[in-house]
C-alpha cells in the first residue's frame, strides 16, 4: 500500500503534477499531526522530530527523482521517507516499535529506512549520512546506472567536517549527488547565525560545486531546482549544493513546547500564516482554477490513509524477543 499517488512526471498535465504534490504534502502534514498526538497521548515511545512546515522541500525534491534513485535522511526524516514513496502504515508501525515496521521496529523514527524506494535511512547523527549518500552516488557511477543520490540534511550539519570531506570527493569525481541543505534557521535551540559563519551557499561553491539558494516553501521552485540538479547529475556533470530556506512549525522534537527562550511567537506566527507551503500551493492551484472541493477531497484521502496507517500500527504485534540478537550480522 502506498499512500502516495504515482508520480506523474510523464503526465502532460502540469496541474496533475501539482495536485500530486499537494497530496504528498497533505499526507506528510497529516502523518506528522498524528505522530504528535500519539506522542502526547503516550502511545509512542521515545521522541520524534516533526517535519511540519518543511513539506515542500522533501516533496519538491523527491518528485524530481525516480524510484530507483537514492535518498538519505535525518532525524527529521518522516517527510523524506513519505515523499520517496513509503507507506504510512509501515512507517507508523516502525515508530511504535512494531514488527511490520520498515525496520521491524528496530530502527524507530530516527532510523527509518525503506530500501525498496531507495531510502537508505534516516540518521540520528547530524551529517551522519553524508558519506552514505555520496557513496551511493559513487556506486551508481561505478555501476554505470544513471541513478542519483540526494543527501538531505539540516543546516546544523554544516558544522560537521565529514560533509566537507565528501563534498570535496563528490566534486573531484563528479558524482551524481545532490546536497539538500534544509535551512530551517535552527540547530535545535540555537539560531543558525550563531553557529554558521559566512555564506551558506559558499560552503558548496568552495569545493567547485554548483550551488544555489531556493525558497523551500515553494514546492514549484524546489522542484525546478531539483530537476536542474538531477539533470546535471544524470548528465555526469557532478554534484549540486542546494540551500532550501524553510521553517519548522513545531518544536525541535515533540517534547519541545516552550520555545520562547530561543524563538519568538511572532516569528512562528509569521511563518505559519504567511509561509505555509501547503497554503502557498493551494493559493497557486486555486489561481489555476482548481476548485476547493478537489483539494478538500485530496486532503481527506490523505487523512484517511494516515488514519488507516495508525490503526494498523496500533494493532500490530511487537517483534518477538528472539529478534533481539538477530541482524547483528548479515
Amino acid at each position: 500500500m502506498s499512500t502516495m499517488r504515482e508520480t506523474k512526471l510523464t503526465s502532460d498535465s502540469t496541474i496533475e503534477r501539482w495536485l500530486d504534490a499537494y497530496h504528498r504534502m497533505a499526507t506528510i502534514r497529516a502523518f506528522e499531526e498524528r505522530v504528535n498526538e500519539l506522542y502526547r497521548s503516550a502511545k509512542m515511545p521515545g521522541l520524534a522530530h516533526l517535519y511540519i512546515g518543511e513539506e515542500a522541500v522533501a516533496v519538491g525534491i523527491c518528485m524530481a527523482l525516480r524510484k530507483d534513485d537514492y535518498i538519505t535522511s535525518t532525524h527529521r526524516g518522516h517527510g523524506h521517507c513519505l515523499a520517496k514513496g513509503a507507506a504510512a502504515d509501515r512507517m507508523f508501525a516502525e515508530l511504535l516499535g512494531k514488527e511490520p515496521g520498515y525496520c521491524r521496529g528496530k530502527g524507530g523514527s530516527m532510523h527509518i529506512a525503506d530500501h525498496e524506494n531507495g531510502n537508505l535511512g534516516a540518521n540520528a547523527i547530524v551529517a551522519g549520512s553524508t558519506g552514505i549518500a555520496t557513496g551511493a552516488a559513487m556506486s551508481a557511477k561505478m555501476r554505470s546506472t544513471d541513478q542519483v543520490a540526494v543527501c538531505f540534511f539540516g543546516e546544523g550539519a554544516l558544522g560537521q567536517g565529514v560533509l566537507y570531506e565528501v563534498m570535496n570527493m563528490a566534486s573531484l569525481w563528479k558524482l551524481p549527488v545532490i546536497y539538500a541543505c534544509e535551512n530551517n534557521l535552527y540547530n535545535e535551540y540555537t539560531h543558525y547565525s550563531e553557529t554558521t559563519a559566512g555564506d551558506l551557499v559558499a560552503r558548496g561553491e568552495a569545493f567547485g560545486i554548483a550551488a544555489e539558494q531556493v525558497d523551500g516553501q515553494d514546492v514549484r521552485a524546489v522542484f525546478d531546482a531539483a530537476v536542474r540538479a538531477v539533470a546535471r547529475a544524470r548528465r555526469g556533470d557532478g554534484p549540486t549544493f542546494l540551500v532550501l530556506n524553510t521553517y519548522r512549525f513545531h518544536g525541535h522534537h515533540v517534547g519541545d513546547v516552550d520555545r520562547s527562550y530561543y524563538r519568538s511567537e511572532e516569528e512562528e506566527t509569521e511563518w505559519k500564516s504567511e509561509r505555509d507551503p501547503i497554503e502557498l500551493l493551494t493559493g497557486w492551484l486555486r489561481e489555476q482554477g482548481v476548485v476547493a472541493e478537489t483539494l478538500a477531497q485530496i486532503g481527506s484521502e490523505a487523512q484517511q490513509e494516515v488514519e488507516a496507517g495508525v490503526e494498523f500500527a496500533l494493532a500490530a504485534a511487537y517483534p518477538d524477543e528472539s529478534e533481539v540478537d538477530q541482524h547483528v550480522f548479515a
Partner: protein, 338 residues
C-alpha cells in the same frame, strides 16, 4: 530508577538530583577559577537538552558558557588548545554516542600531549558526556562507550553513580591537569541523593563500597549501582548477603578495593552497561580472576549490555541490559541458591 536506602539522605541532609549536583559542581568551580569555561551544543540558554546546565549562562555569561556549532571534533580540539594554554575547558558532548567523533582529538591529541612533550605540555580538559540505554532513543543515542575511552592511556575516566559522587568527582575532574571524560547516565539525572552544603572534592581512583556484605561481590558502574542495590534487596530476602563495589573511576582504577572485596566474598559479578565483549566488564573480570584467583569459589560473572546495537522497540531494548531481576538470578546461581 529507585533511590535505595544506601544512598538516601540522612535526616537534615540536603538532597539534590544528580543533574543539580553536576550543575553545582560546575558553578562552584567557575566561581572559584576564572579559567574554567563550558563549550558545547545548546549549553547556554537551553542548558543542554537534559537541562543539566540550566542557569549557568545567566550567572557566568555567554563568554564562559558558549553555544557551539554541531562540531564535536572541533570543540574538543579547541578545548584542548585552550587547555594547553592556560584555560580549563569543560567540553559538553551531548550524547556519549558522539564520542566517536571526538576520538581523534582525544586519543591522538589530548591523551598523548603530556607524554609526547616529555611532560612539558598539559591538557586540563574535561569532557562531559552520557551513557545508558532504555530511553527508547535507538542505536545512535543509547550507547555506553566508556570502554573505548578507558582503553586509551592518558585519559582519566569518571562514572559517577550518585549525586554526591557526581559533584565531588566532577570538581576533581576540572581541577585535574589531565584530560578527563565524565560519563553520566542519562537515566540518572533525576536520581536524588544527599549532597552536603559544604564544599568537598573526591579523589579520582578511590572505589566506594556502596553496600557491605559477605556472600557475593557485585562490582557495578554508573547506573548499574542501582540495579545492584535493587538486586541486593531481593537477595537479602533470600538470605544472600551482597557487597557492592562502585569503582567510580575506571582510570585510575582502585584495583585494591575491588580485589579485596572479591577475595572476601569469594564470588563476584561485574555489572556494566557497556557491551559485554572487549568491554569494561572484561577488564574488571580479568582483574579479579587474576588477583583474587586463589580465593575465588566460582568463576567471575560478567553482566553487561548485549553485543547488539541497541534496538528501538521497547520490548527488545529492555532485554539488552542487566536488570535487578537478572542480576539477582545470576547471583543466586553463583551462590548455589537457585
Amino acid at each position: 530508577m529507585s533511590s535505595p536506602s544506601a544512598v538516601a539522605a540522612q535526616p537534615g541532609t540536603r538532597e539534590l538530583t544528580l543533574s543539580q549536583a553536576v550543575n553545582e559542581a560546575l558553578a562552584e568551580e567557575m566561581r572559584r577559577d576564572a579559567s574554567v569555561f563550558i563549550v558545547g551544543e545548546d549549553v547556554a540558554e537551553a542548558g543542554t537538552p537534559f537541562k543539566v546546565l540550566s542557569g549557568l549562562v545567566e550567572e557566568f555569561g555567554p563568554e564562559r558558557v558558549i553555544d557551539s556549532p554541531i562540531s564535536e571534533a572541533g570543540i574538543s580540539g579547541i578545548g584542548l588548545g585552550a587547555a594547553m594554554t592556560g584555560m580549563r575547558p569543560v567540553v559538553d558532548i551531548m550524547f556519549g554516542d558522539f564520542m566517536t567523533l571526538v576520538m581523534d582529538q582525544l586519543v591522538n591529541q589530548a591523551a598523548k600531549i603530556h607524554y609526547m612533550s616529555g611532560g612539558r605540555l598539559k591538557a586540563p580538559l574535561t569532557i562531559r558526556t552520557t551513557l545508558g540505554a532504555t530511553r527508547r532513543s535507538a542505536a545512535q543515542h543509547s550507547q555506553s562507550l566508556h570502554a573505548l575511552v578507558a582503553h586509551v592511556p592518558g585519559v582519566k575516566v569518571v562514572l559517577p553513580a550518585t549525586p554526591y559522587d557526581a559533584k565531588g568527582l566532577f570538581k576533581a575532574a576540572i581541577r585535574e591537569d589531565n584530560p578527563v571524560v565524565v560519563f553520566e547516565d542519562k537515566m540518572m539525572f533525576a536520581v536524588k541523593g544527599p549532597v552536603p552544603e559544604e564544599e568537598y572534592v573526591l579523589p579520582l581512583g578511590v572505589a566506594d563500597v556502596k553496600r557491605e556484605g559477605e556472600d557475593v561481590t557485585l562490582v557495578a558502574t554508573s547506573s548499574m549501582v542501582y540495579v545492584a542495590l535493587d538486586a541486593a534487596e531481593q537477595l537479602a530476602a533470600d538470605g544472600v548477603s551482597v557487597e557492592i563495589v562502585d569503582p567510580r573511576t575506571l582510570v585510575p582504577l582502585d584495583r585494591e578495593t575491588i580485589v579485596a572485596s572479591a577475595r572476601k566474598t569469594g564470588r563476584a559479578i561485574v555489572i556494566d552497561e557497556g557491551h559485554r565483549s572487549y568491554g569494561v566488564g572484561a577488564e574488571l573480570a580479568a582483574l579479579i580472576a587474576e588477583d583474587a584467583f586463589y580465593d575465588l569459589d566460582a568463576p567471575v560473572r560478567r553482566m553487561c549490555a548485549m553485543d547488539v546495537p541497541i534496538p528501538f522497540s521497547p520490548v527488545l531494548e529492555d532485554l539488552t541490559v542487566p536488570t535487578a531481576d537478572t542480576v539477582a538470578a545470576e547471583a543466586r546461581r553463583l551462590v548455589g541458591k537457585e
